[in-house]
Symmetry: C2
Subunit: 518 residues, 2 copies
């Protein structure tokens, strides 16, 4: 793998003495304990056993120009995805082949149809998006170091529009690296670490602000029965990510104009909510202080992304949310935009033109790698040829529509995998050209290891949106953007020789970019 | 035990439904994990195992009038103890009987003598004090409820002037209770919890501010060898209280005008520090980024309160600190003021008059319970009569000079205890009349239990001081107060039938007062 020559005359990360390394590791642990940067939570009445989440010991180097590019293109991506979320036809055409083979797609589309037939009563939606990128070094990777940043491109791994996570962790890790940089832990040879190379991170505040905007947009309760309005966090029971979700709740409560918010496990939706005649969503769990219910203004979804959640009453539950007057973050059509099939559809000539101006299109398109379908279209049949060829498939990744990663098949393992499943299932997948990120170096610290090596990082950009379905339905004015901003970023780093980036499953860690000018 | 009738027509804490209680407990755990309110830390390279510290589920009721009284008398207590810290004669006369029998007193006095003989080179000291109080219900406790607050007095348990802890925990618990109060967890019957009844807590900020003042007062480095000045936190190795110490360090680093600070284990003082010719204290551990040392402006002591620490090189270590130009928080004479013998001496007529005006004296004296020596003075011999009498001793507590509690003997266990030790050791102890606090009610949550019952609370007031030895040595102007303020409070609650209040050892928990007007 090629490396980027970030630091001509500097070794980075520095080769710390054992004493300094021990001190650094100890400071990282103390910081994480003191700031609640924890990942697992084990249920017990006697003891809370927690794991600190893995982290980069040093901020990993990343080109400032590419970081800026990712930030600056996000508002266009926000506009694009909000528009797609109001384009029922495009979404249907994109996912229809999934419906017979992909239970999650089937459930979600079915919920949309049911809500549409009942009549949607809320045309405003909210979005907390995350666009993920890696650097790509053109041509055949070689061992040659390079300081020519023009050869390195920003390429989109995927665009996430539903239940995006990691923002609170990123916010805290950024603060931790800043603290370590300030206290000299990274200084070498009298040279202080350049603190300006660390971007600031306000993710938690940004998301809280977006939810507040939506909450205020909803207005006062529509139902006379309700005591007040509140944001509802739909979460998975016993989930491991309370340290990523709770900070947003606390931020909302702590504001001078406190925004009330409550947590509800997805399986309990039917039991603890109900609709009024005008379909206001009332929330009445037994732990509320009052017998009177609360009316939900905004539904912030951190559950409902796994097919199994829609067995039993899950379908009715999500349907109830969708047909209510509450503002969904996001709507079920917005949820469907997160499918990789949509990512693939956007690479087809003419599709971006449906939503964006030409000046915007170029900036979006330059972040795309080729993404092919595996259906029975012309493009799909050609892609099947590649996928079934042991040599040609080496430069591709096979990705299912499923959320959450951990299900990709890499390179020349693809032909054997496709051989092992029914051909009728092939259209569930997309075939994506591999991104070839150049290496950096870092020391990564996890629960069971502390090790140095060649690393690659994935930059995520937080997009915060509030949009309203247009009254007219022409392409260019499909939706009105009430709020469109970049809220912050995430940064994950893994060893170069690991395929999968998935921090919560143990592959990779949270990190901060050290922005480098070339 | 009598109870105070805090709430005429209200049950407090409310009898929550099981659902509401489960929700409350879960919220408390999540809050503690997310905010680093943790007590134990187990060393391991693979996993950090931590315990949340015990906490009151609800803020415990406490009379506002008494809380205000404690806050308002603190500046006088600060002045008193800063003055005593500059009164070598009084300190010596008070502790001289301890010297043959109390190794800690002997070590500390020895260090003072050595530093005095070498010549003190820093006449400014800093203090982070904690004055602890309980309510006292006059007369024989009975089961009669009362709403007459004049019958309830504020009585001082003790005054701590060295290595006081609990301030960060208190700050966080106050924020937690405020969050729970805001989100309706304590609401009953449509009545919102009165948020104004919860005092705010800025302990961490106050202590950081005091250390910053001292650091700025020290000025630039005196030594050409040093890169910069910094505050040094002297701590115990593998200590359980990093979650109480670290927040102050982070606060200092996070200030716009960052105050550099470092941690040093007490046993490593000799190895990692040295004095210049003018006795500036240079700090040069192997984990500093530079080969050049740092000069210490302020020594914030969170270790050196146990006799065993002065075995081996501990004496030389503390001596080195004391004779340096660094500002000590506090000086060794300041440390000696924390001994219970001093508390006893202050009850002797004429002693307060040495330091305070008469208007100040009355307010101090009204917080004292009778405290008797057990030496061979007239008062001491009378006290011995009481202590050896199974009936009369019932209303007393025998307290040694040792720090940290856990060594008191209660009531009629005293005669047998005194019988079991040599009479020559008796002068190590003081005999203090019991305080009889009225009960409140609460649900206390610890690692191994969740239980309700009658409770009593101990209020601590944080005093922040910077003082300078006066040029003249007359009683009234013994020291000049450069800074004298109330920085905040702590509040600990335990079951009424437990004698000892010691959160870190498992007796009692951190809490917030719900201030009640009578």
């Amino acid at each position: 793998m090629a490396s980027l020559d970030y630091f001509e005359d500097e070794e980075y990360p520095p080769d710390l003495s054992e004493d300094r390394l021990i001190s650094l590791v100890s400071q990282i642990k103390d910081w994480q304990i003191n700031h609640g940067s924890l990942l697992k939570r084990v249920h017990s009445e006697t003891e809370n056993s927690v794991l600190s989440h893995p982290v980069g010991c040093f901020p990993s180097a990343f080109p400032r120009e590419r970081f800026q590019q990712a930030v600056e293109v996000q508002e266009i991506f926000n506009k694009l995805y909000c528009s797609i979320a109001e384009d029922e036809d495009l979404i249907y055409n994109t996912i229809k082949d999934l419906l017979p083979v992909e239970p999650l797609a089937k459930a979600l589309w079915g919920i949309h149809e049911a809500a549409r037939d009942a009549g949607y009563v809320q045309d405003i939606s909210a979005g907390v998006f995350r666009s993920d990128y890696m650097l790509h070094l053109e041509g055949n990777p070689s061992k040659e170091l390079t300081r020519d940043i023009s050869k390195t491109q920003l390429k989109q791994v995927e665009f996430n529009s539903f239940s995006c996570s990691g923002f609170s962790h990123a916010n805290k890790v950024a603060n931790m690296h800043r603290y370590l940089a300030r206290n000299g832990s990274y200084d070498v040879n009298e040279k202080p670490f350049p603190i300006d190379s660390l971007p600031k991170n306000y993710n938690i505040e940004s998301i809280a602000r977006l939810l507040t905007s939506a909450h205020l947009k909803y207005g006062p309760p529509r139902s006379k029965l309700a005591t007040h309005t509140a944001v509802l966090f739909i979460v998975q029971p016993f989930n491991f990510n309370i340290a990523d979700e709770r900070p947003i709740e606390y931020a909302l409560w702590n504001q001078d104009d406190s925004v009330p918010n409550y947590r509800l496990d997805f399986p309990d939706i039917i039991e603890y909510t109900q609709l009024t005649e005008e379909r206001a969503l009332l929330f009445h769990p037994p732990w509320l202080p009052s017998d009177k219910p609360v009316e939900i203004s905004v539904i912030y979804q951190r559950a409902g992304y796994e097919a199994s959640e829609y067995e039993n009453s899950g379908f009715d539950a999500r349907f109830q949310l969708e047909k209510s007057t509450a503002i969904k973050c996001p709507s079920v059509l917005g949820h469907l935009t997160t499918f990789k099939k949509v990512q693939q559809a956007l690479t087809v000539p003419g599709v971006l033109e449906r939503f964006l101006k030409s000046s915007e299109i170029a900036r979006i398109r330059e972040t795309f790698v080729p993404v092919l379908p595996l259906d029975e279209s012309t493009a799909g049949l050609e892609a099947r040829q590649i996928a079934c060829d042991v040599e040609r498939s080496a430069n591709y990744i096979l990705k299912p529509s499923l959320e959450g990663g951990g299900n990709n098949i890499y390179g020349n393992a693809i032909p054997a995998f496709l051989n092992s499943i029914a051909t009728s299932e092939w259209s569930r997948y997309i075939l994506m050209e591999k991104i070839h990120p150049p290496d950096a170096n870092n020391l990564l610290m996890g629960p069971a290891c502390l090790d140095g090596g060649k690393t690659v990082s994935e930059l995520g950009i937080l997009g915060c949106c509030l949009w309203q379905k247009s009254k007219t339905q022409q392409s260019d004015t499909r939706c009105d953007l009430l709020h469109n901003s970049v809220g912050g970023w995430t940064f994950k780093t893994k060893y170069s020789d690991i395929d999968e980036m998935n921090v919560v499953k143990g592959h990779g860690c949270f990190d901060t970019p050290r922005l480098v000018d070339f």
